[in-house]
């Protein structure tokens, strides 16, 4: 083994600590508000593929969770028909039982997902230029490193470029538009980037107006941005690209918020499409279920995004029931189609609401 200078080891240690911190701490905060990025999902999927037992257990827990949710949904529907108070209470009790069961399942799922996150962090560290240590030692090292670094030191490590140096050492393709200077794998685990490193004015970071977004004219003042699950964050807009608006918090952290998940009020700031008044906003109501209406070929396309130009990721047969709305509708002015984000048969995407009717 080649002996490295002490300085190199310290840099490696700092890298590991930063990486671990970003992987476990910040990511959790980010995902709790915005949901995981595609790259994070990919990183976890890769880890799970190498740990099949964990993958199977997670699949079983999630499946049980979904079954219980379906039971609750069915019970709520039945409850509306019941006349006697005693009967309604009986249903309520069953719903409470299922809800308690779901809470238990969620706790188990969270525990395993934490394990997965730790595993992904460890694996990422393995890929960095700091090899030569046993996996268990690396885990200990990361934990110790995290405990000795306070928040200010972490920020300094990021600001000093150590973080970027580590990032460029990683063998990964560059990321997508908007945060192009950060490698994809780093972006996947570091949704928060320092304020000093705003998306540069390179060709990769150029603002690409999306259909329906006209000159976003970023509002540089700090304001409250709302997200679907009711949480809010004080931030200012740095830029907007084809998929995301890049927001910066007061503490200098920045992140990308998918445009289609912005609430109507926020979308107005971008002059982006807002939901039709005719279609209920699921952020305000319970999940809505729809039936697929008849189409010319008997199938309703599920697309990856709200527009005919987006890829077809699935098809729903006419007459299918239980199509679940999972977000606010988006009006595509170009084709005058109201797109509804849905989930059906485990597939998520957007369908034209012209071919959906409430159940």
């Amino acid at each position: 083994m080649i002996r490295r200078p002490l300085a190199s080891f310290i840099v490696t240690l700092a890298l590991a600590a930063t990486q671990a911190f970003l992987l476990t701490g910040c990511e959790r905060i980010y995902t709790s508000i915005f949901g995981p990025s595609k790259d994070v999902v990919n990183a976890k999927a890769a880890f799970l593929a190498q740990n099949p037992k964990l993958d199977v257990i997670l699949a079983q827990l999630r499946n049980e969770h979904n079954v219980q949710e379906a039971n609750i949904s069915e019970l709520k529907k039945i409850r509306r028909s019941f006349a006697q108070e005693g009967s309604k209470m009986m249903v309520e009790q069953k719903i409470a039982d299922y809800t308690a069961s779901i809470q238990g399942l969620k706790a188990q799922i969270n525990r395993i997902e934490e394990e997965v996150e730790r595993g992904v962090a460890l694996q990422t560290f393995n890929q960095m230029d700091g090899g030569g240590l046993a996996a268990s030692d690396m885990q200990t090292l990361i934990q110790q490193s995290m405990s000795v670094l306070n928040t200010a030191e972490r920020q300094r490590a990021i600001a000093s470029g150590v973080y970027r140096q580590g990032a460029t050492n990683m063998k990964s393709p560059t990321s997508q538009v908007g945060v192009a200077s950060v490698p994809a794998s780093t972006q996947s685990v570091t949704p928060i980037v320092p304020s000093q490193k705003k998306p540069p004015n390179s060709t990769n970071s150029a603002v690409i107006p999306k259909a329906g977004i006209v000159d976003p004219a970023p509002d540089k003042s700090f304001r409250i941005w709302r997200v679907l699950n009711g949480k809010s964050v004080k931030a200012r807009m740095l830029s907007v690209n084809s998929n995301n608006v890049i927001l910066e918090c007061e503490d200098g952290t920045a992140f990308a918020q998918p445009i289609h998940l912005l609430v109507p009020e926020d979308r107005l700031l971008l002059n982006a499409p807002v939901p039709s008044k005719n279609v209920p906003d699921p952020a305000l109501t319970e999940q809505n279920k729809f039936v697929a209406q008849k189409t010319t070929d008997g199938y309703l396309n599920i697309r990856s995004g709200p527009g005919l130009q987006n890829q077809v990721v699935g098809r729903i047969r006419s007459g299918s029931r239980g199509i679940m709305q999972v977000g606010p509708t988006i009006h595509d002015a170009k084709d005058d189609i109201i797109w509804m984000p849905v989930r059906f048969g485990g597939v998520s995407g957007f369908v034209s609401s012209n071919f959906l009717k409430p159940e």
């Binding site: 079983q60 499946n63 039945i78 019941f82 009986m90 098809r315 047969r317 299918s320 048969g345």
Partner: protein, 331 residues
Amino acid sequence: MAALGSCGRVQTQASARILRVWSWPNFFSTEAISSFEKKYACSVAIVNFETNEELFTQLDSNGGGVDVVTPSSYFIPVLAKSGLINEISDVASPHIFHVPGLKGADTMPSAFVPYTWSMSGILSLGSISPAAHLSWDVFNQPALAKKFSLLEDVREVFGAALKYLKASVNTVARPEIDRAHDVVTNWVKSCLFTANSQYTIGLEAGEIQMAHGFSADAWHASRTNPKFRFHVPVEGGVISVDGFAISSKSPNPGLAADFIRHMHIAESIAVNMDWSGLFSVERSALERASKLKEFVFSSNEEGLKKSEVLMDIGGEIDALNHIWQSLLEPR
């Protein structure tokens, strides 16, 4: 060195096999799955779907890495036409049960290995006298208005109406469908609610006196409340055969075939049938399932002979769906 060791471990883990199965809820017992995992040194990840249409969408999107699916027999042509499942050549078809008079069980589609069947009929809490004469006509009786529930499944409800009219559940004849339409219209107006699961709570709560439902649900419910009864109407019940198909994008087609074979060995069948309340299609297994048989057919021993298996009706399903939606919409 340690790093190499670490890589080696990862490689070993990566080679571990996972079989991904998409099935109906409560389709496989834990014991049956565990014995397969043990024998073939693999893990089985099961995800449930609620309708055949959900299964279609999942398979059509990308296959999701799914190996084995368990659709209904009548849905196989839809999946096959879209190239979503492969022909199964190396799994012997079971000796499928044969009941004189029962239609449809002997004409299973290719690319499908039948596994279980269940019947839809009428559920009650406590005996009905005389149970042997219970007819689908009971849903037309004013005394039962708003005191029964219907399954929320177009083929099951139209199947029941067609049996009531003494027509085939697989008819595509317009006059018969029109008559069934009238029957179903009245039933939907008269029922208290439609649901595909959880409807047994309506009986337990006393809100309904009868429920259009599945024999397997009655079997499950009877474990906690022995008063649950299942009745096969005098005109016969509606049978769905569910079984195995292998996704055309299966990452493990060989293991998928092993799984199907394993589930058809006698021990697996016995364990699974008792647990799920779903009859095995195996002729010999059906003969041995005395407890389940008694539970389902105690009220009407001749019921099975008059029953019928749901089969593919091609494009006619769109017309039925259209009717069905228009009936449910006002609710």
